[in-house]
């Protein structure tokens, strides 16, 4: 086994910050309190789409205890933010475009006063027609949400001759699919504190996924020197993509600057769910051609993404959906036509999977339909077209990095539920409870893609006591990258892991390592930490060779010490640190790593293609109550290729958590917005899986597939592990009942009516 030679890599290492968390010692940003701190509140739009005619804050300002009220007039720089296009106003000036749009904000001595002040702000609106259907929004005469029109992005890819494929096909499947508006619901809502310190630095302590980018976006809004903005973004109580983009930060910062005091904002769950980022709902029309032997001949897909009111990462999400629209399959005749369209349906941005969960639901349902129509085992059918190293992906780039499609399919074939599926599906406790097993396959690009700066950075320094600190800008919001970095440094330096201190997510202290997104945290930051460790070892070798007057080649690293293999002289890291200190300063090394990219660029599709991919195959064993349409997931399994596993326990945790988040996506989660108004902004009406909903067992099957470019040959798994769960479940629902699900979440009513339709068609054998 590859990992047997390692002390830390591949082992189950408990999270380095877990005990601080389990004892309540660690302070999240929303736990911070500062002396003399004010409390901020934000006034949101009254209508989902309206002109602002007048804003009058005088009464609010006059309220005792109110220190500051701000509106668009108080934004000194660009009144807009957004990772790609800064089109979301910090505070709206003449128009609101969704019900969570911010119009004004208050800082007051207490939360109650701030709340009261909001009610005293007068805003006159002229309501505009609400645009809530993306396809209607695309029409020429639709009311415009942004002046440039409602189509934010159109990406079209053509390869081969898809019409010819349909002519030659033995089987054509044509269906329309819908996916829901999933809310990340990190347990910690948006919250934190901001203040200007004595040195004139603006400090913003708000959990996020990329402190250095927050710093730049804030500088642009505030007209403030970015070097004087410190963003601290770790620890975070969950993110999943939601905290990649800014949320409350610019308002919080403005309040603190204007009030000249520290300000704290913590959103209620309702406000968080109404006001901030979601997963984009998609409508997808697919037409897919197969040969009788299972060959995938052609795919024609039309994708419409409900962008919501502002851009954020909606363009890249569409492009990733286009790239992943055909699944990890070899197919040479392709037409994928995608649109990202503005509506007044809230706002959507990055979310674990980033466009892949939507298209995976469509293509994996089609693979299931095809396997039944062609009478080919679903795993065999997928294997027939599974991408291999050297193949061209559906958008035409040659896969030259590690490809695990076949490995994960072989892995999932050996899972408990797949091996025993014939017996399992027969188990019946009540005549109306039907059981079934489904499978689905997916892949997910690691990293940001062609044309987007994509690098990892790490600073490694020796401390006075001989321990080391590694400082990386990415953020641990639960995935466990901090622990992985500690493992990587401990392994490379050959030191006990307790001797590695990890500092994350601080724009003043840590190296810029790009965003903590796109399953890239371990891959990029880990590689940078490894490079920094190699440099550090070289520095230590030089030092020790001088110390022992020996050749550098004779210097070797023991566990926690360095020695001269000729004389046997050794020196501990502690002694070495003392020695460095006496002669000047302790060593510090930086590691930077540029993520390799594909050799080609896809025209008119920014960021495509990706170059490195993780792969996973998922199965689900379900029981469907045919009287009510309720679905329980009894067991799950995932076979995952994330390269060499760095932390076995962390790997399992990601798989289990990802599977369960995928269950929510497949079965219950959809933020309902009607006429621009959110209908279910709390945990009693927006249902995420609870401990009672999860299966007894989620089998984790890592496949061994080293990725040569990664740190210790690792890739990233954070997204793929959730992506194919929903289609595995809906395919299992079909297996159990003969009811085909074309719309997720497959709530009881969706499943119930699908069962009724299947019964009326009587075509289930």
């Amino acid at each position: 086994m590859e990992e047997a030679k390692y002390k830390y890599i591949g082992r189950s290492v408990p999270r380095i910050d877990a005990l601080e968390k389990a004892t309540g010692k660690i302070k999240y940003m929303s736990d911070l309190s500062l002396p003399n701190m004010l409390f901020g509140k934000i006034l949101r739009a009254k209508y989902p789409h309206a002109k602002i005619l007048r804003i009058d804050t005088s009464k609010a300002e006059a309220l005792p205890g109110v220190v500051t009220v701000i509106t668009h007039k108080d934004v000194p720089g660009l009144n807009g933010f957004g990772i790609v296009v800064p089109d979301m106003p910090v505070l709206c000036k003449d128009k609101v475009r969704y019900i969570g749009d911010a119009v004004a904000a208050v800082a007051a001595e207490t939360e109650t006063i701030a709340e009261k002040a909001l009610s005293l702000i007068e805003v006159d609106y002229e309501p505009l027609p609400i645009v809530d259907d993306p396809e209607e929004a695309m029409k020429e005469d639709a009311p415009k949400i942004h002046e440039e029109g409602n189509i934010h992005l159109h990406t079209e890819i053509k390869r081969g001759d898809v019409e010819k494929a349909f002519k030659e096909a033995d089987l054509i499947i044509e269906e329309t699919f819908f996916t829901g508006r999933q809310d990340h619901t990190p347990l910690e809502t948006e919250g934190g504190v901001a203040f200007v310190d004595e040195e004139g630095n603006l400090n913003v302590y708000v959990g996020s996924q990329y402190p250095q980018r927050d710093q730049l976006q804030l500088a642009r809004c505030l007209n403030w020197n970015p070097k004087k903005i410190r963003v601290v973004s770790y620890p975070v109580g969950g993110a999943f993509g939601r905290k990649d983009e800014l949320s409350i930060q610019p308002i919080l910062a403005l309040l603190a600057i204007k009030a000249k005091r520290a300000v704290k904002i913590t959103l209620s769950r309702e406000e968080s769910m109404i006001a901030y980022w979601k997963r984009h709902p998609f409508k997808m029309h697919y037409k897919v051609a197969f040969k009788n032997d299972g060959t995938l001949l052609g795919v024609d897909a039309y994708l419409v993404e409900d962008k919501g009111a502002y851009s954020s990462l909606g363009g890249p999400v569409l492009n990733l959906a286009v790239e992943h629209a055909c699944g990890p399959y070899r197919v040479d005749n392709v037409h994928v036509d995608g649109y990202a369209v503005f509506t007044n349906n809230g706002i959507a941005g990055a979310f674990r999977g980033f466009g892949a969960p939507q298209t995976a639901f469509a293509i994996e349902t089609i693979m299931d339909i095809a396997s039944r129509k062609l009478n080919i085992d679903p795993i065999d059918l997928r294997k027939k077209s599974a991408l291999r190293k050297g193949d061209k992906t559906s958008i035409g780039n040659v896969l030259s990095t590690s490809v695990g499609t076949e490995l994960v399919l072989d892995g999932i074939r050996e899972s408990n539920i797949w091996k025993n599926r014939e017996e399992l599906r027969k188990i019946s406790t009540k005549p109306w409870l039907k059981r079934g097993v489904g499978v689905a396959l997916t892949y997910q690009g690691t990293g940001l893609g062609v044309g987007i700066p994509d690098y990892g950075g790490a600073i490694l320094s020796m401390n006075e006591d001989g321990s080391f600190s590694v400082r990386v800008g990415t953020v641990d919001y639960g995935q466990g990258i901090g622990t992985s970095y500690a493992q990587i440094v401990a392994e490379a330096m050959n030191i006990p892991i307790e001797k590695v201190k990890v500092v994350l997510g601080d724009s003043f202290l840590t190296a810029d390592s790009g965003p903590t997104s796109a399953s890239r945290g371990v891959y990029t930051g880990g590689k940078a930490a490894l490079i920094a460790s190699e440099k550090m070892k070289k520095t230590l070798k030089e030092k020790v060779s001088k110390l022992f007057k020996t050749d550098e080649d004779n210097v070797e690293f023991g566990f926690g010490y360095v020695y001269d293999k000729v004389s046997g002289n050794k020196v501990t890291y502690e002694e070495l640190a003392k020695n460095f200190k006496e002669e000047g300063k302790l060593p510090e090394e930086e590691g930077y790593f540029l993520v390799p990219t594909a050799e080609i660029k896809i025209e008119n599709a920014f960021g495509l293609p990706h170059h490195i991919f993780a792969f996973s195959a998922h199965t689900a064993y379900v029981e469907v109550n045919t009287l009510t349409g309720e679905v329980s997931v009894l067991e799950g399994a995932e076979a995952v290729d994330g390269g060499i596993v760095v932390n076995r326990q962390g790997f399992e945790a990601q798989v289990e958590g990802g599977f369960v988040m995928g269950m929510g996506y497949g079965l219950t989660e959809h933020l309902a917005i009607e006429n621009g108004i959110v209908k279910n902004p709390n945990f009693s009406t927006y249902i995420i899986p609870s401990i009672k909903d999860v299966p007894k067992r989620i089998e984790t099957i890592p496949v061994i597939n080293p990725e040569d470019t990664g740190p210790y040959k690792a890739k990233g798994i954070a997204e793929t592990v959730m992506v194919a769960t929903a289609p595995a479940i809906t395919n299992a629902i079909y297996d159990a009942t003969g009811a085909r699900i074309f719309s997720i979440p497959a709530t009881p009513s969706v499943v119930y009516f699908a069962i009724k339709e299947a019964e009326s068609e009587e075509n289930f054998d």
């Binding site: 347990l187 399992e652 999860v694």
Partner: protein, 157 residues
Amino acid sequence: MKEVEIHFTLNGKEYNLTVPANLTLLQIIRARIGLTGTKRGCGKGECGACTVIFNGRSVSSCLVLAPKVDGSEVLTVEGIGTFDHPHPIQEAFVEEGAVQCGFCTPGFVVSSYYLLSKNPHPSEEEIREGLSGNLCRCTGYIKIINAVKKASEKLNG
């Protein structure tokens, strides 16, 4: 808002406070006493992040108003165990990998503490029942269930 005077014991320490009557126990713990291990995930009794032991029972502290706190005895995650002297339940959560972002963890630790004090050897079903008021978005719960099983072994040999 009307103020009330309250006397209560928290983690073995006595407190006398005057607070607005509509303040919740959660706010008292976090903002007045300054212990931030108890979290707010919803403020409405829906997520369990704010769970504490209140007069011997596990409750959502976001639902308890100040007047009720008078005369009560409260135990928070910090009172169960500390970083230097962790409780076996907290150790089990760490060892089993049941902590990811960790924001739900204090609530789960307190609910597990209550469960194991009532039922030292819970079955898997009883664990699920006992923790059903706590939401976690990261772990998928499997490792949390394993942690409670392990804690039960640690505590009862």
